[in-house]
Symmetry: none
Subunit: 418 residues, 2 copies
């Protein structure tokens, strides 16, 4: 079964809101093995909507509409579909009762416009709106299916997941299982990764392998279609092990794991503590870790020393040391890391200093970053980054790189002796 | 001129990401009076992409593509357009130089895949990618225009606004004017704001008024359509002053201003300095301020004291004080604010402590937050929040509330005497 999602609403074409409904529905359809080949957005205009319907009927079995079910004159989705498919609009008693009750509760006068919201395509399965007024509906005509849902995500999302998705899964029949697994990479570019995996990518069929780059990370989504969950897991395992042979050292996690969540769970799991001294990142490293529940067991705190004076006053790094080495230097990053480790008596001390950009800072061009991670007992790792992004991108990349180095260090120190 | 936006990428059809590019571009086109009648999303599939191009050519003069310009085999936007329009792909020297330089800086190996990114449609105007590798391009053929831009929003957004939009405005000539202005509210809910403005919202025609809520803030986008820019500005001014009469006290900014950008520009503009002591927000307050260029003139730094021990050791708040009042209390927030102000000798000291949730902390239920802002000289403002969101939402709301209080305090102290 192939589906097309048609969002109706001029506010989308004016760029006032994102079409988050398309993402939500697509993601739900992927879970039940229904392919989406196109998403379309059209305004509140009957002629253009009918064009979109005609085009979609040529390329999809299931047309999913969001929006245009409201009470106003601009709302014309069901009217247009009724005319196009030669169907009548009839009042749905349950919907009419629920709308009437809503107006009674609110003490407001119900108008004919509101009554219009209870009209549904004759012969359709009506989907109750548990968070608003306009009901949804699923109609069929000439072997094609038409699902209509309201536009507001608060109304659409539960209606789709609770009511429409199970109906579609039944329509789509038992076409087997779709199972996805996402592998998360850090430290390798998308092009380089695809280059290394090109043989695998060329002969991919089941599972399919879809690489995606974002914010300095690359993911590969593996999607297997099989008769049973066990077969799907086996296919995914086999592909993962092939990928690991080629680029395993860059894989840091699965699915929804992130660098902060992985680092936090490793710190907490190994009873390790951490503090950070941040300059260009100004608290972002600590804040990302603090998003993770339970982090107070591992993170004592830290300091933000944005200026050179603060590095001297708060971290005790002598002014002539900063003068000699520069505030953006390996030496300063290392001094920040050692100082904050001592100050907070933690297992790890992180130092982050750099020129976020666009302007140079401390004699270094924008994008230069030094990261230092000190371990209790004296070990120190340092790393230099030369970033070319915008100010905030560079700050985020610096944090990710520090988290990745931290994950590697914990891995190394906690790996079982052979 | 009518435009259609075609986003290319299977990750969109799988529901992995939102098509935020369509919103961004549509909103920019509305500002220069170019109508968007359709937005389309198609996967990484040459045949289906060519179908989408054919359909769009029937209904638009300007086809805007995002995505599919990357180095991988899946990236086939320019190849498909070249074949469809009978154009050659040629290497752009500047793009090739910039890609080569990027790999040299990063010390990574450049592959043939990467070189492919420097190919452009013969005869097109090349748009420099200042934040990534793939250049954009604007080509014309048979009276139709084809704008190709990369998919990552960080690359696409500046390329569109700085380079493509002015070119399109010139192509579109002088039609009617569409002008938008966004008013940004804090401290009032969407329903309450709409209720207060219901008369205005009911009789809106020109400008139209579109309220939108997100992350604890509400915006109203006013959009005027007129013959001249002056008329549009006059209409927007009139509506803004009507809105200000009713809910002016909640307006903190315009358009792309945010609470951090507003607070940063006020601090910098008035030569005021700030430091923060953060517990539940763990650096997020400072990090949000540090996103703003030039902030080093205003922000010295601060401390993250996540644990009670850190509050004692780093801020000198006696353990028995914390014991007596609790770590989540007005007294502790105020002590954090005063201490960090003294430690960094700034004009403002901010203290943030609370139970981010979901679990209670310091004897207070999850969602309890205390904010204190101390001014040099002794004035102190405190504020309690009872939030019901998830852990990270609560941390973001706490930061927003602190920024909003700071903005109000700066406004009050810098307002001219009457």
């Amino acid at each position: 079964m192939k589906a097309e999602i048609i969002a109706v609403g001029s506010e989308l074409l004016l760029g006032q809101i994102n079409n988050t409904n398309a993402r939500y529905i697509s993601s739900g359809l992927a879970e039940i093995g229904v392919d989406v080949h196109f998403q379309t957005v059209v305004g509140d205009n009957a002629a253009r909507l009918e064009d979109a319907i005609r085009i979609a009927e040529d390329r999809a079995d299931l047309l999913i509409f969001t929006g245009g079910l409201g009470p106003t004159k601009d709302d014309l989705t069901k009217e247009t579909i009724a005319r196009h498919a030669g169907k009548q609009l009839v009042y749905d008693d349950a919907a009419l009762r629920s709308i009437t009750a809503w107006f009674e509760r609110a003490g407001r006068t119900m108008t004919d416009n509101n009554r219009k919201q209870a009209l549904v395509l004759d012969g359709s399965t009506v989907l109750e709106n548990r968070h608003g007024m306009a009901p949804g509906m699923l109609a069929s005509s000439d072997g094609r299916h038409y699902l209509l849902m309201p536009g507001p995500p608060k109304e659409m999302e539960p209606m789709f997941t609770e009511q429409a998705k199970p109906l579609i899964a039944r329509l789509a029949g038992e076409g087997g299982r779709i199972l996805s697994r996402v592998l998360r990479f850090y430290g390798i570019g998308e092009a380089e990764l695809e280059h290394r995996l090109s043989d695998l990518l060329d002969r991919q069929t089941n599972p399919t392998l879809a690489p995606l780059a974002s914010d300095g990370e690359v993911t590969i989504r593996m999607t297997a279609k099989t008769e049973s969950r066990e077969e799907a897991v086996a296919l995914l395992d086999r592909s993962e092990s092939e990928i690991r042979k080629i680029a395993g050292e860059y894989i840091y996690g699965y699915d929804d794991e992130t660098l902060p969540s992985k680092a936090a769970s490793m710190l907490i799991g190994h009873n390790l503590t951490i503090a950070a001294a941040e300059s260009l990142t100004a608290g972002l490293f600590m804040s990302e870790l603090a998003e993770q529940p339970g982090i107070s067991a591992a993170m004592a705190g830290g300091v933000v020393t944005y200026t050179a004076e603060a590095k001297t006053a708060q971290l005790g790094i002598p002014a002539d040391f900063l003068e000699e080495h520069g505030v953006v230097s390996e030496e300063t990053a290392a001094a920040m890391a050692s100082s904050v480790l001592a100050k907070f008596s933690t297992d790890f001390g992180v130092g982050l200093t750099g020129a976020a950009g666009p302007d140079p800072h401390g004699g270094q061009p924008g994008g230069t970053v030094w990261i230092a991670i000190a371990r209790r007992g004296g070990t120190m790792e340092t790393k230099k980054l030369l970033l070319s992004g915008m100010r905030n991108t560079n700050r985020i990349r610096a944090v990710k790189s520090a988290l990745h180095t931290l994950i590697r260090m914990i891995n190394e120190m906690t790996a079982p002796e052979i």
